[in-house]
Point group: C2
């Protein structure tokens, strides 16, 4: 069953590639490249007959070599397991590799490659268990005046059971969008499998878009700035790449005013804070802390996957940081059922330090470390797989 999900996309016949090198599960139908060796080296091939210099950018820049047929090739060193965005540079032009499906990250549609985990790890693969569904939902935001799109996972028994469900609001990271958690993250398969094994309670998952700009606000926080290097007239060259202008306040306002009411009106949802969780990865984790810590009357479960408030805004002080949300440990521990801090082991010590500081201040929290993974979707799949079973108990 392993990886059978992608057979539809990756097609059947594959030729022209070296022995033992398997096409990435994210390739377009039939494309033999990129392919991954058992030792996790990756081979790429690109048609660029008249180019002078072609590179693959994946964990650094790798020069490709031109063959007599105008095809450029390279095999790069073993890569970390998991999902990675990557790009090509063709004579200085940054583009996606036409041989893969594209995935929205860094504000545009990048190429993606999946370096497989060992074959016995299949918690995010489709299995022959009851499947929930992911639905696209459009709604008109009063806060922004614009139509917005979210995706909603409903569990396998949603239509049959007619009962009400708790809700997890699950956020993507910087430069990504509302498609990330079910396309790159496989949140739907992770929950299908957890629910089938009775490890997680059936729940609804709402995957929305962090990018909220009220009229007059700068909507450009997800910009792929290299596409338009000229500064905006009148902006004095203000950089558009990064988190400039991002406070999270507009997202919180939109979430409370538009998103949660729409979800609770549209789906069979259990009411109240003990049936409402929020989590997110990277910038989505920061947003989660910003939103929930100032609205603890509305959320009882909090998850930061490679992202939290830890390390931002100077040294952590339980009395004053986060507007004093952590100042009364006894009260906090009563109200917040799970405070989850996840991180990939190769991402650095900041999240562990934040967890330790919270613990020292008497704040109960769960620290989860994903072995051998980086700031990418495999870390976040593992975080969700560990976090979801803790919810709504």
């Amino acid at each position: 069953m392993k990886h059978i999900v992608f057979a539809l996309l990756a097609g059947g016949l594959c030729w022209g590639q070296p022995d033992g090198c398997k096409p990435s599960s994210l390739n377009i139908p039939g494309s033999p490249y990129p392919c991954v060796y058992p030792d996790r080296r990756v081979a790429f091939r690109v048609a660029a007959p008249d180019a002078q210099k072609v590179q693959v950018h994946l964990g650094g820049a790798h020069d490709m070599t031109r063959g007599a047929d105008g095809m450029w090739t390279v095999t790069i060193p073993p890569q970390v397991i998991g999902f990675h965005y990557y790009t090509l540079s063709i004579d200085g032009s940054t583009v996606s590799d036409p041989a893969t499906r594209t995935f929205f990250g860094s504000g545009w549609d990048n190429s993606g490659i999946e370096i497989p985990e060992p074959a016995d790890i299949d918690y995010y693969q489709p299995k022959d268990v009851p499947h929930g569904q992911v639905s696209q939902r459009w709604y008109l935001s009063k806060v922004t005046g614009k139509w917005r799109r979210c995706y909603v996972y409903t569990p396998p028994d949603y239509d049959a059971k007619k009962t009400r469900y708790p809700v997890l609001y699950l956020m993507h990271g910087w430069g990504e969008n509302e498609q990330g958690w079910h396309t790159q993250g496989h949140a739907d398969f992770i929950l299908d499998n957890l629910i089938a094994e009775k490890k997680a309670k059936p729940m609804i998952i709402v995957m929305d878009n962090l990018n909220v700009a009220k009229p007059g606000e700068d909507a450009g926080i997800f910009s792929a700035r290299w596409l338009w290097p000229a500064p905006a007239p009148g902006t004095g060259g203000r950089p558009r790449f990064g988190l400039n202008g991002f406070t999270g306040a507009s997202f919180t306002e939109m979430m409370l005013t538009d998103l949660i009411p729409m979800i609770e009106k549209t789906y069979r949802v259990l009411p109240g804070r003990e049936n409402r969780a929020m989590a997110g990865l990277s910038m989505g984790g920061m947003q989660t802390f910003l939103t929930t810590l100032s609205n603890l009357d509305k959320f009882a479960y909090i998850g930061g996957f490679s992202g939290s408030t830890g390390g931002f805004g100077g040294k952590f002080d339980a009395k004053t940081s986060n507007n004093g949300a952590f100042s009364d440990a006894i009260s906090f521990n009563k109200r917040v059922k799970v405070l989850f801090l996840g991180i990939g082991s190769v991402e650095g010590p900041r999240t562990k330090a934040f967890s330790d500081a919270l613990t020292a201040a008497g704040i109960k929290n769960v620290y989860f470390e994903s072995p051998g993974t980086a700031h990418e979707w495999l870390t976040w799949r593992r975080c969700l797989n560990d976090f979801a079973p803790r919810l709504f108990r």
Copy 2:
């Protein structure tokens, strides 16, 4: 309300582009290019500092000009309204333009541009009416042994009304996939608007993937062959681009064995042929005719949008063509409630000729011609908008 749907994607601030040139609704957030002038000329800009030759391929190849800043630009002549795939050529390498969202066509993720219709035409835009939802549905196919994905539109009142609905099976074209009809085609908004105006009956729409290969069959019918120009070992250079090997028989078998039973088990569906329609565009129209004409006990409504059996397999003969499906006009007209043939006016006369031949043979049919459009998604949006109101009456 016009185009407000894409504000989420196209972002807010846009600078650096010429006066009066509006960013395409399909651009990534914040990208000022490509942009469309009121007279439908289109301006492109691409960062390629070290390239020798850069072209835009949209209705032919257009050379771009390098500026001192390494940005290449071109303004191309007025384009036909509608949705168009396009690509860049950078020193001979065919890639998508990083400035737009990508869309699966010709077997890979192309760039897309939308040349707007006049502002008062909004049948495929989101309006402030009740919205249905599009759900991703995975199912395991007995015929192929693989997991497959379809998307299912359920009408706005599906959850509230608890009634049963008729079903339209709606197919994409060559090189596209199950994402096309709701991403490029806006089938969901078209139906939301028709249902709100009581022009169409509420219905379920199933959008599946034409690519069905049984074990041992060639899955490569959607291949972007230019990506791997070397012939397959042992195939003698058999071309993989085009309809080679496509008979449609495996799709029909999968549809009857796997898809329809899964849909009728999973959703509240009205039973029987008079509650079942099938339509498709281009190759999906061919598939529709192949499947329905040999299974008239299962389908009462048939639609071909820029695609049918007309013109294939030699001269049309009502007695013998399509295994004699049209040989008894009286019986055919009793069983088939709507036989719909749509085409863009600039696509040529073949569909009109087929409609006339059917009419001459006594076969009732609806001929729909979309004014001023080509073999692209605007033709097919208009076809659906005309076809859906005729269903299930």
